[in-house]
């Protein structure tokens, strides 16, 4: 009787390699689907150039007196960047539900790798894809009049990645609860849309009613958008110091990844 060939390094190494394999497969799939890459930029572009243009012509931003007025498109740009990362991250994570429905998840689950490495692989690939989509958005920044310096980019990209991690972690948790893709519509309407609007992506929360202000404080995207805005626009005062924002997103990411990976492992 022969033991299975123990090739490819120690057990620990092999487990982390599974994370890499799943990341690789998801990226391959994503970059093969050109239509989706371009298509997912559709709604951000509509938001900025139609909604942003329209609202901008009829309102003055920021509303607080004293500060210099800025173009609304500029104000909302970091918010839309946050939205892109939120949607791409959650959507990419929820592809686990597709994998389950089309059977491919079983191929991964029955392989000699632990199930936490599958979930972690999904988190890393989702975060990569969401950051990439955010990166594409950054190419549009000059069109609204935001000129990014190298220094800004060096801050922006890691921040975006961190926000992407937290959103993908949330997405994995959602995916463990979803039986089929039909349920995703509910998540979209009752989780993602409120998270997006309440985060201050589209408007300032200074004059918002108390309940909204409270909700925004528990919305992790609030800190993401606040951080992105603080880095990109110096004219608008940010709500929290950048270090607070980043610290809270990092904390939320860590908690989310831990919870979702545990939930996924337990489920399978």
């Amino acid at each position: 009787m022969s033991a299975p060939a123990p090739s490819g390094g120690s057990l620990g190494m092999r487990r982390f390699r599974a994370v890499y394999i799943i990341w690789l497969r998801d990226l391959k799939r994503h970059f093969r689907d050109r239509a989706r890459i371009i298509g997912s930029l559709g709604s951000p572009i509509v938001f900025i150039f139609i909604l942003g243009q329209g609202l901008g012509s009829s309102l003055r931003f920021p509303a607080s007196s004293g500060a210099a007025a800025i173009d609304y498109k500029v104000f909302m740009f970091p918010g839309i960047l946050g939205m892109t990362v939120l949607f791409a991250g959650v959507f990419s994570a929820v592809s686990i539900v597709w994998d389950r429905e089309f059977g491919f998840l079983k191929e991964m689950l029955v392989a000699p790798v632990p199930s936490w490495s599958i979930a972690l692989g999904k988190v890393v690939s989702g975060a990569t894809i969401a950051s990439f989509q955010g990166g594409l958005m950054l190419l549009l920044a000059p069109l609204v009049g935001i000129h990014l310096s190298v220094g800004m980019l060096l801050l922006l990209i890691p921040t975006m990645f961190l926000v992407a991690f937290s959103m993908t972690g949330l997405g994995i948790l959602v995916a463990t609860r979803l039986k089929s893709m039909q349920g995703f519509q509910v998540v979209m309407n009752f989780v993602m849309m409120p998270m997006f609007f309440i985060s201050g992506a589209m408007f300032q929360l200074q004059n918002a009613p108390q309940w909204m202000d409270t909700l925004s404080k528990v919305d992790p995207l609030t800190y993401g958008v606040d951080a992105l805005r603080a880095i990109m626009i110096s004219d608008v005062p940010s709500r929290y110091p950048l270090s607070t924002d980043i610290g809270l997103i990092a904390l939320f990411s860590a908690v989310m990844i831990f919870i979702s990976v545990t939930a996924f492992s337990r489920q399978s």
């Binding site: 022969s2 060939a5 599974a18 497969r25 799939r29 689907d33 429905e101 029955v110």
Partner: protein, 338 residues
């Protein structure tokens, strides 16, 4: 005989109060083709899921390639290849990419990956389509690719769960040919489930499973011997009268049942009896039976007869609705795809 490849002792699995598999025991030798035969819901897939570590047994134990299925999961997984009932391919990747991905997951050394993909693709005759996306493949091609993929890491045991379900007869034959070939080529033990009786004949040994119990386990030939020599099917003007006559004059226990139209006549009652030798008894029967006989067929027993004898039911009854279920599932899937 060397140590068995699979050894199962009183393995059970309950889902709540439903006992899907109930104290099943068997052992499978090296290079054996072992078939699990039974209607849907008999416990076939549950048993496979336990043996490939996807499901924990509620009682009993099993070893595969010398590894315990509960405490040595990774080793068991490395020792087996599995083809599930439903496809588990990534249809956005090419056939070759699916194989490569599998090789990575199963720790096949990088230097060997492309050579192995090439050889398994050749075996299932998909070399020409290696770089096409799987979504363009037919059902039969997907199944062949899954078999090829299951072999990529040179497993000791290959599990095939209903490998020919939903495939046309020609493709089915091709799949069976592959199964026999790969046993020789890869020195592999094959564990399969099916509810097609005629296909079960391809196995070295068969376990007939019903309601979570193994009701018989033997070679197809021996199982058929259990039935007796031949099966005679009669249609008469009065089935019950003929049945009585058979009992009184010949001391034969005949079974009367309704049957759909088939080779022995239109839909209606059939009288079925098992006799040691149909050829010698038949002339005597026809001479002495007073009730008019409309038609007679004599044939050797099939596994259908074995199943009927052991469980009192015909396995065929269920295969039509199974197929309908399968079709429905495919339609559902296609809808969601679009």
């Amino acid at each position: 005989m060397s140590a068995p490849m699979i050894e199962v002792e009183k393995l059970s699995r309950a889902f709540g109060s439903l006992v899907a598999v109930d104290e099943v025991s068997f052992s499978i030798g090296h290079k054996e083709i072992f078939g699990f035969l039974g209607p849907n819901g008999a416990g076939k897939t549950t048993t496979i899921n336990m043996l490939c570590t996807l499901l924990k047994p509620t009682a009993g134990r099993a070893q595969l390639n010398g590894f315990d299925i509960v405490s040595q999961q990774d080793e068991v997984r490395q020792s087996i290849g599995i083809v599930f009932q439903d496809p588990t391919l990534d249809d956005q990747l090419t056939a070759r990419e699916n194989l490569q991905f599998h090789a990575m997951l199963y720790n096949v050394p990088p230097a060997e990956r492309s050579e192995r993909s090439q050889s398994v693709l050749e075996m299932v005759e998909l070399t020409g389509r290696a770089d096409d996306k799987v979504e363009t493949f037919s059902g039969g091609m997907k199944r062949r690719l899954e078999i090829a993929r299951g072999l990529m890491h040179y497993p000791h045991v290959l599990f095939l769960d209903e490998p020919t379900l939903g495939l046309d007869p020609q493709t089915r034959n091709a799949i069976w040919q592959h199964v026999h070939e790969l046993r020789e080529q890869f020195d592999i033990t094959i564990f399969l489930t099916t509810h097609y009786m005629d296909e079960a004949e391809n196995c070295d040994r068969i376990a007939i499973i019903d309601h979570g119990h193994i009701v018989a386990l033997d070679t197809p030939g021996n199982l058929k011997h259990q039935v007796g020599g031949d099966v005679i099917t009669l249609r008469s003007e009065d089935s019950e009268a003929t049945q009585r006559e058979l009992k009184e004059h010949f001391d034969l226990d005949a079974v009367v049942s309704e049957a759909p139209a088939d080779t022995s006549g239109p839909a209606g009652k059939r009288i079925r009896l098992e006799v040691p030798s149909g050829r010698t008894l038949l002339p005597q029967l026809l001479k002495e039976l007073k009730t008019g006989i409309l038609s007679v067929t004599v044939r050797e027993p099939t596994l259908d007869d074995v199943f009927l004898k052991l469980t009192g039911r015909q396995i065929r009854d269920e295969s039509v609705s199974d197929k309908m279920e399968f079709m429905k599932a495919r339609v559902r899937r296609r809808r969601m795809h679009s």
